[in-house]
C-alpha cells in the first residue's frame, strides 16, 4: 500500500480506530515507509486532539437541574403496575377536566398545557409558587394558550389562598404579544394585569433594539416592564428557584 492509494477516508478510519487489525497493520507499515503519509496521520491525530482539548472545559450551564418534569413523567413508563394505576388516575383527571373545561380549550396546545400543569402540580404542596413563562413564538394559538393557562394557574392559586408570582417574558416573535399595535390580546392583558397584581409582563430590550434597528417603532402595552434581556431574566429567575415554562 502506497501513500497515493491511501485515501483520506481510510486514514480517518485509521485515526479513529475503525479499521480491522490487518488493515491497520498495512497502514502502520506504509507509515514506516512513507514520510508524507506519517505527516498526514500526524495532522489528523493532532486535529482530533485539538478538538478534544478545545471542548474539554466549557462555559458552565446556568440553568437549574432537571427536576420538575422528571418527577411526574417517567413514572408511567418504567413500571407496569404503576402504569395501570397512573392511567386510571389520569383518566379520572381528564374526565373531570373535560366536564369542567371551557369550549375554547379545544384550540389549546396540549403540550403547553401539560407544562403548565406540571408547574402547578409540582408546587401544590407548597404555600407559594413562582413561574416564569417565556414567550418566543408569535403563533397566536400558542399565545392564547399561554394566557389561558396562566389565568387558570393564577385563578387556582387564588382559590386555594396561595401566593403565586408569574412573570411572562417575551422576546423574538413572542414580542407580538406585548406590542400595543400588533397584539390581539391587548385588552385581555390589561384586564389580567388589573385582576392579578402578582402577574408581570416583561419585554426583552434586545429584541426591542433589533426591531428599532429595522425601522419598526415598538409601542408596548401599558404596564409592560422591560428586561435587559430575556435570557438573563430567565437565568436569574431559575437561579432563584422559579419554574420555567417556554411557549
Amino acid at each position: 500500500m502506497t501513500n497515493q492509494n491511501i485515501s483520506d477516508e481510510l486514514l480517518n478510519s485509521f485515526v479513529d480506530n475503525e479499521l480491522e487489525s490487518d488493515e491497520a497493520s498495512e497502514i502502520f507499515n506504509a507509515i514506516g515507509r512513507d514520510e508524507l503519509l506519517k505527516v498526514r496521520v500526524c495532522e489528523l491525530r493532532g486535529m482530533k486532539e485539538m478538538v478534544q482539548h478545545a471542548y474539554h472545559q466549557l462555559p458552565a450551564h446556568k440553568i437549574s437541574p432537571l427536576k420538575k418534569p422528571a418527577r411526574w413523567w417517567p413514572v408511567y413508563m418504567l413500571n407496569m403496575p404503576s402504569l395501570a394505576a397512573c392511567m386510571l388516575l389520569l383518566l379520572l383527571g381528564w374526565g373531570a377536566g373535560w366536564l369542567t373545561s371551557e369550549s375554547s380549550r379545544s384550540n389549546s396546545d396540549p403540550k403547553l398545557m401539560r407544562l403548565f400543569q406540571a408547574a402547578q402540580n409540582s408546587d401544590i404542596a407548597e404555600e407559594s409558587g413562582n413561574i416564569i413563562v417565556h414567550v418566543s413564538n408569535s403563533n397566536p394559538v400558542r399565545l392564547k394558550t399561554a394566557l389561558d393557562e396562566t389565568e387558570n394557574l393564577l385563578e387556582s392559586y387564588r382559590r386555594a389562598n396561595r401566593q403565586v408570582n408569574v412573570e411572562i417574558i417575551a422576546n423574538a416573535g413572542g414580542m407580538d404579544l406585548l406590542r400595543s399595535d400588533v397584539s390581539p390580546f391587548g385588552v385581555r392583558i390589561g384586564l389580567m394585569k388589573d385582576k392579578y397584581p402578582n402577574l408581570e409582563f416583561l419585554a426583552c430590550s434586545q429584541t426591542i433594539s433589533k426591531l428599532q434597528k429595522k425601522g419598526i417603532i415598538v409601542k408596548l402595552l401599558p404596564h409592560t416592564g422591560v428586561a435587559a434581556s430575556a435570557v438573563e431574566e430567565i437565568n436569574k429567575r431559575l437561579h432563584q428557584g422559579w419554574d420555567y415554562v417556554r411557549v
Binding site: 480517518n12 478534544q52 462555559p59 422528571a70 411526574w72 413514572v75 418504567l78 397512573c86 409540582s122 435570557v231
Partner: protein, 188 residues
C-alpha cells in the same frame, strides 16, 4: 402528584440518575453544535424531558447513550425548523449576544480554544455534527450513523470533508504573528 410519585419512585429515580450522569456529555456535544451556552443547555433540557417522556421506548439500557444523542440531534434539527418557520432569527441572536458577554466566555479561554471553536462553528452543520460525535464522544462510525439516521458511508464522507475544511480553517484563523516570528528566525 404525590400519589403518582409513590407508585414507582425507585425506577424513575434510577433513570433520572443515569440521565444526570450523561448530561455533561450531552451538553458538550450540544455546545459544540451551537457554540452557545444558553442554547446548549436549552437543547439538553429538552432532550432530557423527551427522554423522560419516552422512557418506555428504550428497550435496551445499554443503548441509552446513543438513544439520548439521537434525541439531541432531533432537538437540534427541530430548533432549526422552528427557527425557519417563524423567522425567529432574533432569538438566536439574543442568545449569542448574551453569550458574548457572559463571564464564562471571558474567563480562561485560550486563543487556541477560541480558534478551534470558531473553526468548528464555521463548518456546515451536518459535518459539524459528525465531527463532534466522533472526536468528542469517540463514538464508532456505525453508532454515529444510527444517531443521525444516515448511512455509514455518509458519516465517513462528511467526517473527511469536515476535517479537510477544519484544517484549512485553522490555518486561516491562525494568528499572523507566527508568520512574522518565523521570518525573524530565518534572518537570525
Amino acid at each position: 402528584m404525590r400519589i403518582l410519585s409513590l407508585f414507582c419512585i425507585n425506577g424513575s429515580d434510577a433513570f433520572q440518575e443515569q440521565l444526570e450522569k450523561i448530561r455533561p456529555k450531552l451538553y458538550r456535544v450540544a455546545f459544540s453544535w451551537s457554540h452557545n451556552a444558553a442554547l446548549a443547555d436549552d437543547l439538553v433540557q429538552e432532550t432530557l424531558i423527551k427522554a423522560l417522556k419516552n422512557a418506555g421506548q428504550l428497550r435496551d439500557p445499554a443503548l441509552l447513550n446513543g438513544w439520548l444523542f439521537s434525541i439531541l440531534a432531533n432537538c437540534w434539527r427541530d430548533h432549526f425548523r422552528q427557527h425557519r418557520e417563524t423567522e425567529d432569527i432574533d432569538e438566536l441572536e439574543d442568545y449569542r449576544c448574551i453569550n458574548e458577554t457572559t463571564p464564562e466566555d471571558e474567563h480562561a479561554q485560550s486563543q487556541l480554544v477560541l480558534r478551534v471553536w470558531d473553526a468548528v462553528a464555521k463548518l456546515p452543520v451536518r459535518q459539524r455534527q459528525v465531527l463532534t460525535l466522533v472526536d468528542l464522544e469517540e463514538l464508532p462510525y456505525i453508532e454515529v450513523a444510527a444517531i443521525l439516521a444516515i448511512p455509514i458511508g455518509t458519516v465517513m464522507s462528511r467526517l473527511c470533508r469536515a476535517r479537510q475544511a477544519l484544517k484549512i480553517l485553522l490555518k486561516e484563523l491562525a494568528p499572523q504573528q507566527s508568520a512574522q516570528i518565523s521570518q525573524l528566525r530565518r534572518i537570525i
